[in-house]
């Protein structure tokens, strides 16, 4: 066999292996997705949205309590996390630049983005749940806020950095003070980018389970008092899926389906915004 033939054959083998692994990887992932959709659609009904949790075996059981709890916990986390993240990102991009302090904050925040979320849960347990004496919706929101801030900070920093400096200089030339330049010129230029960051940040924390296990805990019934333990879709999903009751497991799949669709739509929406921005 000549050298060339050998090279061609090696090439074919590697190409084949790579394509096969791509098919295997993608196949696995679509397998999970199709199971999620099949089980989810099968378990969906109006009761899911109108009924609260019930003991196993009850006909009329749903996820209303978990849906509302989820919206409240994630909603409050968004209200706190978004302004703090955007402000911090603004400081990094507009004031700190490449200074030592700025770079340190960037690095630490980047590391925080990949830090284990269950540890954040343990931290919030120590500073909120233990002093209060019981689990609460607030504790869950605080944990999610901590997870959300680095994500928003990073995208804000990046997106503000993309705004061209000639725009800033033009505003300064008109005599605008820095805060006006930032709030009226830079923010406007980076609007879609920041919005995408917010959407992705919300999508990320909405799927978090580990930090909620011992902060907001769970509640099988509707509760809208943030000072009390609160159900979330993710923790409910975990509890129901690990239960031995078939109807609870079914509700778990419904929760998984609703949550995934919510998170996927936020991600797709974020992408569309960015595409639109590129188009302009």
């Amino acid at each position: 066999m000549t050298h060339t033939q050998k090279r061609i054959i090696t090439n074919r083998i590697v190409m084949l292996l790579s394509t096969l692994s791509a098919i295997a990887g993608i196949g696995f992932l679509f397998w999970i997705l199709s199971i999620l959709v099949m089980n989810g659609v099968d378990a969906l009904s109006w009761d899911i949205f109108t009924q609260e949790g019930a003991p196993p075996g009850y006909e009329e059981s749903g996820l209303k309590h978990a849906l509302i709890g989820q919206l409240m916990i994630v909603g409050v986390a968004t209200i706190f996390g978004v302004p703090i993240g955007i402000l911090a990102g603004t400081y990094l991009s507009e004031y700190a630049g490449k200074s030592k302090l700025g770079e340190t904050i960037r690095d630490i925040s980047d590391i925080m983005m990949s830090a284990p979320s269950i540890v954040i849960g343990a931290f919030v347990y120590a500073i909120v749940v233990a002093p209060m004496g019981h689990f609460s919706g607030w504790a869950g929101s605080i944990a999610l806020t901590i997870i959300m801030i680095p994500i928003i900070l990073r995208t804000t920093d990046d997106m503000l950095h993309l705004v061209s400096s000639t725009l800033r200089e033009a505003a300064y030339a008109l005599g605008a003070p820095k805060y006006k330049v930032i709030t009226q010129v830079v923010y406007r230029g980076a609007k879609t980018g920041i919005l995408t960051g917010v959407l992705l940040g919300v999508a990320r924390v909405a799927g978090e389970t580990a930090p909620l296990l011992f902060t907001s805990f769970n509640d099988n019934f509707l509760n809208t008092d943030m000072r009390e333990p609160m159900a979330s879709l993710t923790v409910t999903m975990y509890n129901y899926a690990t239960s031995p009751y078939e109807d609870w497991q079914k509700l778990g799949w419904a929760a998984a389906f609703i949550l995934s669709m919510f998170i996927l739509s936020l991600n797709i929406l974020g992408r569309l915004f960015l595409l639109k921005k590129k188009g302009n």
Partner: protein, 285 residues
């Protein structure tokens, strides 16, 4: 007035940014303070002792550390070759009309919450493992596989991004010299993107070791070191997820906090290595 608002805005945004540093310091301090009890009682034995018996007030973290290391190692073992394959496919092989849709779906799959991978593992993968490898199906091996599938999309997406940074002109030059696709990949793309590829693997490793929900369902939380991969096991996050709400004594709590601190230190170290050695962030000008 305008100067005042200007100052206010500066300080407010600075406060928000510095708060992140303080928060991280606060997290380490709180976890440390809460672990003191357990550190005093067990000292270094905490990580070398393999007996975890809450009823006897004996807490040794070795089984959890062992489980974290082995399950993550298994996950990397399965995920790395697959991720490289997917990345090569996406950056070099796929016809251009497939690149975007397949690439985007991989990225979207990376956004699916890990609890869903765990649920899939429990209902669909545990029976397969039981069938093929024996045992009860809830095992170290299952955890490793589910974990590998969970980190696959993230790994494949970042590896592809790293490969895509190779300038076309380099690849074209190699093709012009008569290189096959494989020649170009192994002699041009991989050497060029090496740092980025290794960095993304280590980053995925850092995420995998702290991952809780994907493995909690399928690992069993059994504090026993077993060389049999089909036996149930535990890991640091699995122990935390299962026992935090059950701890009934000070020492039990303190031991769990020490576990959290240990996990945080381990993942901080791994992620820092990935970030500082391999992925030094370049700002897009």
């Amino acid at each position: 007035m305008r100067i005042l608002i200007d100052k206010l805005f500066l300080h407010l945004s600075k406060l928000a940014a510095v708060a992140i540093l303080l928060l991280v310091a606060w997290i380490f301090t709180v976890l440390f303070l809460n672990s003191i009890d357990s550190m005093e009682v067990f000292g270094l034995d905490f990580i070398t002792e393999s007996k975890w018996a809450p009823n006897l007030e004996k807490f040794g973290a070795l089984p959890a550390v062992y489980g974290s290391v082995v399950s993550t190692f298994l996950a990397m073992l399965f995920a790395v070759p697959l991720a490289i394959g997917v990345a090569i496919f996406l950056s070099e092989l796929a016809p251009s009309r497939l690149k975007a849709p397949v690439g985007v779906s991989i990225e979207l799959l990376a956004a699916i919450p890990s609890v869903i991978y765990g649920m899939w593992g429990l209902f669909y993968f545990v029976p397969i493992v039981r069938e093929v490898f024996g045992g009860i199906g809830i095992s170290m091996l299952t955890a490793g596989i589910v974990l590998s599938i969970m980190i696959l999309p993230f790994m494949a997406a970042v590896t592809r991004d790293a490969m895509n940074t190779t300038p076309d002109i380099l690849k074209e030059s190699a093709y012009a010299l008569g290189g096959t696709k494989w020649d170009v990949i192994k002699d041009i793309v991989i050497p060029y993107a090496k740092a980025g590829i290794i960095g993304s693997f280590i980053l995925a490793l850092g995420r995998a070791i702290g991952e809780t929900m994907a493995v909690t369902f399928v690992m069993g939380n059994v504090h026993k070191i077993s060389l049999d991969l089909t036996a149930p096991a535990t890991s640091i996050p699995v122990t935390l997820a299962n026992e935090f709400t059950e701890a009934d004594t000070e020492l039990y709590y303190s031991s769990l906090f020490e576990l959290s601190l240990l996990l945080l230190v381990i993942s901080f170290t791994i992620i820092s290595i990935a970030k500082f050695y391999f992925l030094r962030r370049k700002r897009i000008a």
